[in-house]
């Protein structure tokens, strides 16, 4: 046994990589391309939703090169999680769940596509609070890693120094490496496996926050709203009579340019939303009922 610290550190990293190998799989996209997936239960793997192509059936290349068929069980763009059900359960022990701390070491693993593992070492750059994604999901922690990742490694497990699982890796804007926290996966996974998706309230409109034109500010009583940029035919907003170009002032009393609060206010299916809006220089009110977002 060597006493050299650097050698000990290096051996510990290599040890970690070989022990994690059984929990990483390559999700084959074509002969030459793959993504990484992380085994979460003996017969369930999770992957980064944004990079997973449409489709139902996938091949997973396991440690050592064996292949197992997996079916898409559900996907949620809001939290960027895709769940795959394996055709057979694997011998697998779920690692402990860890909490990210800024400055702590982080190890990100991916699959090499041929049954091997790829490893990355960095530190936790940011361990922030809960945040909302632009796709309407709630994520327990905002975790950014100070390391780079290849596209094929996205979706693999991220561990702390103790070997506990912080979550799975994914890409944020400008190639930044984020972690989808274990807590978010644990929360979302049961519903994804049961229903194939996470039901969120939906109005069928694309909203862009805008300033209320000066001439209408007094009447509106607020500086901003959200312009209807697009509207889904026969969606809840269309049924309520909204048209593109309307400026929504408030939803159930919340100013419409506060997108995060609006997203939260509309999160349940079948709830009534009272919309105050400006159309043709006049303020009017309409009622819409949220529906489940179509697949």
């Amino acid at each position: 046994m060597t006493t050299d610290l650097l050698q000990q550190f290096s051996s510990a990293l290599a040890e970690r990589a070989s022990s994690v190998q059984g929990t990483v799989a390559a999700l084959r996209l074509s002969e030459a391309r793959h993504l990484s997936a992380t085994l979460w239960h003996p017969d369930v793997a999770v992957a980064s939703e944004q990079s997973l192509p449409r489709g139902e059936d996938f091949d997973l290349v396991l440690a050592g090169g064996a292949t197992v068929k997996a079916k898409l069980a559900g996907r949620d763009p809001g939290t960027n999680i895709a769940a795959l059900r394996l055709e057979r359960a694997l011998d697998f022990h779920s690692p402990k769940i860890g909490e990210a701390k800024a400055g702590a070491l982080a190890l990100a693993f991916g699959a090499d596509g041929a049954g091997g593992v790829r490893a990355r070492l960095g530190i936790v750059n940011t361990a922030g609070p809960e945040w909302a994604s632009s796709a309407g999901g709630r994520i327990e922690r905002y975790i950014v890693l100070d390391l780079s990742l290849a596209g094929a490694e996205e979706g693999g497990p991220v561990l702390d120094a103790a070997g506990s699982r912080l979550g799975i890796s994914t890409f944020g804007p400008r190639g930044r490496v984020l972690v989808i926290p274990s807590a978010t996966i644990e929360r979302v996974l049961p519903a994804l496996l049961a229903d194939g998706r996470i039901a969120r309230g939906w109005l069928g409109v694309g909203l862009q926050p805008v300033a209320v034109p000066d001439a209408l500010q007094e009447q509106a009583g607020q500086p901003g709203g959200a312009m209807v940029m697009s509207i889904v035919p026969d969606g809840p907003a269309a049924k309520a009579g909204l048209v593109a170009g309307d400026i929504v002032l408030s939803v159930n009393g919340t100013p419409a340019y506060r997108l995060r609060r609006i997203a939260a206010a509309l999160s349940s299916v079948g709830s009534t939303a009272e919309l105050r809006l400006i159309r043709g220089g006049k303020v009017l009110s309409v009622k819409a009922t949220t529906e489940a977002r179509p697949r």
Binding site: N80, G136, Y142, G172, L207, V210
Partner: protein
Amino acid sequence: MIAALRLLAARRLRIAIRVEDAALAEELRRLVLDAGHEVVHEHADIVMQAPTGGFAALAEAEPRALLTPREVEVLGAIGEGLTNKAIARKLGISLHTVKFHVESLFRKLGARTRTEALARAAERRMDV
């Protein structure tokens, strides 16, 4: 072609271009990088990933940084890849006014390029 790339890039796409001529490939690569995109070499292809790509947080603007409806219109025209002159013609306003709106857009969005402005505005948009 660059206008078309810009338009596609604003929509979270990855574009792969196979270029046989090495000098041209290098020139394209520099253009893509200058526009704030990423270039990933894969099998000698240029793969460009839009800066808006990736799992993003919903960005909220302070009231004073909200775009006016006219600025949103100008931004839409930028997204179509139109030049300032073409935007002026399309919206029936002077070139000077277009430049004024574009400056204001850049300031409010904290953007330095047209592509960046499109990306930042996209982060503020929500489908609900």
